[in-house]
């Protein structure tokens, strides 16, 4: 396959970037999207040019490290992570536009790498249990209804890649937050800090400069883990409950 790639290049966080065009030949349809970029980088290396910086880690679709805006879609045209997207999803001769996640809360560090530390801080505000509990308790001592366990598990598949923020016209992180709120709120262990957790996480979300949700659903369509919009309803409901409880 022969491709025309338009890629965002930006030397560092302080400088302004621009789109650069690269021609790449000899791409196999069996390559993953990131392998295709690896091939391009080898070309650039051979020519003595700076290779393109992009994030990746497991390349199995489970870590949440990779994430590119590909032809205007977060993670590209398939419902999966960028690393699990393959070149067979494209045609020979295609032009592919590759950009980093765009959100002021996710500043570009270099080329296609963004700083998603804002997500870590949202998690830090409530995504964990803040007291020492000693050794692991007997698993059957706290029983979890099957429905609740299933729902908590389904939304716990969120890998925090940031595609929801990238796809949202408002740059909102509501789907991410909703997934965490629902995951912890469904379980008995999460009840003690349920009110304060949602208020603190939303407070951090707003402070980071993410936008508000307008329920249009671009986030869930872009989510590689198919987290449903229900979690945003749950987030809103938990916040409303906290409001009623005086938080």
């Amino acid at each position: 396959m022969k491709l025309t790639l338009k890629i965002w290049r930006q030397p560092n966080a302080a400088s302004t970037g621009a789109m650069h065009t690269y021609e790449l030949d000899g791409v196999s349809p069996d390559m993953s999207f990131l392998e295709m970029l690896d091939v391009l980088n080898e070309d650039l290396n051979a020519k003595g040019e700076e290779p393109i910086a992009f994030d990746s880690d497991c390349r199995e679709g489970i870590c949440g490290m990779c994430g590119l805006m590909i032809n205007g879609q977060a993670h590209g045209p398939e419902v999966t992570t960028t690393c699990q997207l393959h070149m067979r999803s494209f045609e020979d001769g295609d032009e592919i536009v590759i950009e980093p996640w765009r959100a002021d809360a996710f500043p570009v560090l270099k080329d296609l790498c963004v700083d998603r530390g804002a997500f870590d801080r949202i998690i830090q505000q409530g995504g964990y249990i803040s007291v020492n509990t000693g050794s692991a308790p007997e698993a059957h001592s706290i029983q979890v209804p099957k429905d609740a366990a299933d729902r908590a598990f389904d939304v716990a598949t969120c890998i925090g890649c940031g595609a929801c923020v990238a796809a949202c016209p408002n740059g909102s992180a509501s789907l991410f937050m909703g997934a965490k709120i629902t995951h912890l709120g469904e379980l008995p262990q999460g009840q003690a800090e349920r009110d304060s957790r949602v208020v603190n996480m939303v407070g951090q979300h707003d402070h980071e400069g993410f936008g508000g949700c307008t329920n249009i659903g671009e986030c869930t369509a872009a989510c590689p883990k198919e987290i449903p919009l229900d979690v945003i309803s749950q987030l809103n409901r938990d916040l409303r409950t906290a409001l009623r409880h005086g938080h």
Binding site: D104, V199, V202, H207, S233, N236, D238, R240, L243
Partner: protein
């Protein structure tokens, strides 16, 4: 470039100061408007009961609750509720829209919409258009009582029939109703989602269906009146 994001942890966050609180304000005020629109539509449809019934209804709205309430007392109570709802709706819109525009200052070179509906993407400008329409509508029928056809303005039924006998007046009102229908289509579902009432796939599908029903019912119900005048069913 990154003036908003700072690596500090917020202390003492308050639920009432959050974006979600603004959304709740938006949702509740929007539901107030839906309730009012249903009442307003009921009154409009009185046109099919004839000249006298329509005018009697209009007069009765002003004397409703007398002598406990003064003349036009009920109307002023309703107007007060609507003004409060409007202030809440517009204020939360301005605050949330400003946040959203600051959340992504560097735009994408290419951005596709995959799942969002036309109605959801036109909420902001559609809302502004509706606001401008409401100003005109109030000048037309309430504050100014303008009869563009040049006839008398002291008879509500005749004022309405005279107005909609002009094709361009009908066009303005029908365009406004298209904007209203789109706004209600997304707004209804969005309000229920914001209130946290759509916590599973079935409830979500129901809320979206309700959005279609409310949009068609209200926009269609209002459209019946100018269309009936246009086609000569009411004169």
């Amino acid at each position: 470039m990154t003036s908003v994001a700072t690596p500090t942890l917020v202390k003492g966050a308050r639920a009432a100061r959050s974006t979600i609180a603004l959304k709740l304000l938006m949702a509740v005020s929007g539901l107030v408007f839906i309730g009012y629109l249903l009442l307003h539509m009921y009154g409009n449809l009185k046109v099919f009961a004839g000249h006298d019934a329509f005018n009697e209804y209009a007069h009765h709205l002003r004397t409703f609750g007398e002598p406990m309430l003064p003349y036009t007392g009920l109307l002023w109570i309703i107007r007060l509720v609507l003004i409060v709802a409007l202030v809440a709706h517009v204020a939360s819109f301005v605050a949330l829209a400003a946040r959203a525009s600051k959340a992504r200052t560097q735009k994408y070179a290419v951005k596709k919409n995959i799942a969002s509906t036309l109605s959801s993407r036109t909420m902001r400008w559609g809302g502004v258009a509706l606001f401008i329409f409401v100003v005109w509508h109030l000048i037309h029928f309430t504050i100014g009582k303008v009869n563009p056809a040049g006839g008398p303005t002291n008879d509500p039924y005749n004022l309405m029939v005279d107005s909609f006998s002009l094709w361009w007046m009908t066009v303005i009102y029908l365009l406004a109703l298209v904007a209203l229908g789109l706004h209600l289509h997304h707004g209804t579902w969005s309000a229920l989602q914001t209130l946290g009432l759509t916590g599973n796939a079935r409830a979500r599908a129901r809320a979206k269906r309700l959005g279609v029903v409310i949009a068609v019912l209200i926009a269609g119900g209002f459209a019946l009146v100018p269309l009936s005048v246009l086609f000569g069913l009411v004169d």
